[in-house]
């Protein structure tokens, strides 16, 4: 049975966006962003996948001689590796803002923040 991973990744993208739009708690927004980014990463990897091929690592001598037609696309994997680390860098900063906001105002609700006087 062939499973189409495009569906799963688009589902995660849509879910993440909905999470971002519907949540007012900044922490929940960050979770939505994390889901969205995971979806995009899965999308990139799915685009690089080729049926019946191996991971792009030259394990044995046969592969070392020539890997043409034997391995999946290595480029999207490299891109996703970069994207994952960038995502966690952004997440750390977002959480730092949330913590700061909570420390100063006792809430992470963005709509409540607007009504407070600072």
């Amino acid at each position: 049975m062939q499973i189409n991973f495009y569906t799963l990744s688009v589902f995660l993208i849509v879910l993440g966006l909905i999470g971002i739009f519907l949540s007012r708690d900044f922490i929940k927004t960050l979770i939505g962003i994390a889901v969205l980014e995971s979806g995009v990463n899965l999308l990139l990897i799915s685009i690089g996948y080729i049926d019946g091929r191996l991971a792009p690592i030259l394990f044995n001598d046969e592969l070392k001689k020539s890997a043409v037609g034997m391995v999946v696309d290595p480029l999207p994997q490299a891109l996703v590796l970069t994207a994952i680390v960038i995502g966690v860098g952004l997440l750390a900063f977002g959480l730092a803002m949330a913590v700061w906001m909570n420390n100063r105002f006792g809430t992470t609700d963005v709509s409540e923040l607007k009504e407070l006087k600072g």
Partner: protein, 82 residues
Amino acid sequence: MSILSLFIIILTVVSALVAVFSKDRVVAVLALAIMSIGLTAAFYFLQAPDVAMAEAVVGAGLSTGLFLFALKKMDAEKTKED
């Protein structure tokens, strides 16, 4: 193989739904970690062991830790002020 991957997909979908719609923030963060584990398996099925490893250590390990530390820090600072 295909039953396993189907299970993985269902796990990912359900945990993603919980992560986005749960009211409890800790539950949401843990669901996010489970979603990352599901994604790790998905990456493994898609012949991307490098990315699977990165997703496992970053998604399930580090970012969950960051979230939980941040939530704990918030709680600690909230009770301190009361």
